[in-house]
């Protein structure tokens, strides 16, 4: 078995539909400018249409055009939102495939670094069991909210960004970048579960969050250990994590901004070994990207153009 695989090699059964990661990359780099957001999404329109075909996102695409994912991603999850059920299912599905990729990332860390210290292997083996349980938990929670695996396209962006070939960067990317994002998302899901009084969801995700904190802690410890006595290497690992954090902020959707869909779980992250300086950095680098107003304006234009195009298709047919 070779060492180091590409995200395209992640194996899935026939229920899953893969979405090209270039869209996630583009979203993570969007500026706060309506015209640019519209331009980017129009360029990706054919790809988005193809990825949604045959999935539960197809009617959403038909109704809202290529920006439906952007709207779903950028708005906070509110029980009063009229599209809350769909958005909850989409988010739950995103978490489910994220857990799958975290499981695969932890597993690859066991195989890719055969000379790593034994304690590292123990930590990664533990994480494999935890992530496997998380996949099982979110499979049940998907069912709980009326969704199922493969219902929406999967982007393997998380695995692609986080899985470096350097062990210090791998743990910086997977265990601090990806797992840190998981802490933010789960804190927000617990907030949502509390608001709607969903005890089952709240308790299950609270257990998962406790595990994720442990995984971030593994990352905090192993970045230091793998770079011991080599400040240059440490700085490169930190820089890699910053880049991953920027990518996983999805244009400010996950940030400290007032209009963020997913706020940064500062307390949880501090407990998991993030320093105040790192948290400040995260707050700064995640704040960029389009504001909610920009997203809404762009989504309106994209929807109108989409409707006009559909009407045109209908007329010419």
């Amino acid at each position: 078995m070779k060492r180091f695989i590409q995200h395209q090699e992640l194996a899935r059964d026939s229920r899953f539909i893969r979405q090209d990661n270039t869209l996630s990359t583009a979203i993570s780099e969007l500026p706060d400018d309506v015209d640019t957001v519209v331009e980017v999404f129009e360029a990706f329109d054919p790809m988005i249409e193809k990825a949604t075909r045959g999935t539960s996102a197809e009617p959403l695409y038909e109704e809202y055009g290529p920006s439906f994912a952007l709207v779903a991603l950028n708005d906070p999850l509110k029980p009063t939102d009229k599209a809350v059920k769909t958005r909850l299912m989409m988010r739950m599905h995103g978490i489910f495939v994220g857990e799958l990729q975290a499981l695969e990332g932890a597993g690859r860390s066991l195989w890719d670094f055969p000379d790593a210290p034994w304690e590292f292997k123990m930590n990664m083996a533990r994480q494999c069991w935890d992530e496997a349980r998380h996949v099982q938990i979110f499979e049940k929670l998907l069912d709980h909210v009326g969704a199922k695996p493969g219902m929406y396209p999967e982007s393997t962006f998380l695995f692609e960004c986080a899985c470096s070939d350097d062990p210090a960067m791998r743990v910086a990317g997977v265990n601090r970048g990806l797992e840190g994002l998981a802490c933010d998302v789960f804190r927000d899901m617990i907030r949502y579960a509390e608001e709607v009084g969903d005890e089952k969801m709240k308790q299950a995700i609270d257990f998962v969050l406790a595990d994720e904190l442990t995984h971030v802690r593994f990352g905090s410890e192993w970045v230091r250990e793998f770079t011991k006595g080599d400040p240059d290497h440490y700085e490169r690992a930190q820089e890699f994590r910053r880049r991953v954090d920027k990518q996983f902020s999805f244009g400010g959707s996950r940030s400290d901004r007032d209009d963020a869909a997913i706020p940064i779980a500062t307390e949880v992250r501090r407990e998991a070994g993030f320093t105040d300086q790192e948290l400040e950095e995260l707050s700064m680098l995640s704040a960029g990207g389009p504001s909610r107003e920009t997203v809404k304006a762009a989504a309106r234009i994209l929807r109108e153009r989409h409707k006009a195009k559909r009407a045109g298709d209908g007329a010419s047919a």
Binding site: R12, D112, W118, A132
Partner: protein, 221 residues
């Protein structure tokens, strides 16, 4: 010994306590004998061989997770990976107790090159259409072999002197049995055509032959 420092009866040279060797509880006599097939050094060698296997099983299953498309297999392996790592860890902790040093880097050793090659061969199936080959080598051949060897070791080692090794092998064997049962169930389901059953049979034969040729986990079978 002065009266002042005396702690309890029985501590002085000429004292006797009033306790009979076997009391009214009728404690059965220990019939075990001081006898075992392995001395300290050869026990340490076997523990290193066992640990090598568990460490590599942990690593190869971790590597496979990403290239296995069947979701219940991916998630089912998670716990087995952890339990295999725990077994390797426990075996490693036994080594300093056997005067075999505290250096983790030398804690895992294959019995011979043939066995090291076998482990790499078991790990080698890679593509997503080879779940049958991945699981067969490990769950149909290697793990049942480990169970056999652990049972022989537990039976033949010194029951009193080497009891800590027996304890940890007993634990590992119990878990291995569960893993083998899981693997068998999964493979039975995965192999539901003649063609797939033949793939399993062929893989089993191939790995069994290699295992026999190298003498197994301790190189002495």
């Amino acid at each position: 010994m002065s009266e002042a420092t005396r702690m309890y009866p029985g501590i002085g040279r000429d004292e006797r306590t009033s306790f009979a060797p076997y009391s009214a509880f009728d404690i059965p006599e220990d019939l075990r004998e001081l006898h075992g097939r392995y001395d300290v050094a050869s026990t340490a060698k076997r523990v290193r061989n066992f640990r090598y296997t568990h460490e590599w099983m942990t690593m190869m299953m971790g590597g496979w997770l990403a290239t296995i498309p069947e979701l219940p297999v991916k998630t089912g392996l998670g716990k087995i990976i952890w339990e295999s790592a725990v077994a390797a860890d426990e075996l490693g902790k036994r080594l300093p107790e056997l005067r075999a040093g505290r250096n983790v880097a030398t804690a895992s050793q294959p019995a011979n090159q043939g066995y090291a090659d076998l482990i790499q061969e078991i790990a080698s199936p890679e593509s997503p259409d080879r779940t049958i080959e991945k699981l067969t080598g490990l769950f149909d051949v290697l793990m049942p072999h480990l169970i056999d060897v652990y049972e022989v070791t537990m039976r033949e080692t010194d029951q009193i002197c080497d009891a800590p090794t027996i304890e940890l092998l007993d634990d590992a064997t119990r878990k291995l049995r569960r893993h083998v049962a899981w693997g068998k169930e999964v493979l039975d389901r995965l192999c539901d055509t003649d063609d797939e059953r033949e793939r399993r049979t062929n893989r089993r034969r191939e790995i069994s032959e290699m295992l026999q040729a190298c003498g197994g986990v301790c190189g002495d079978a």
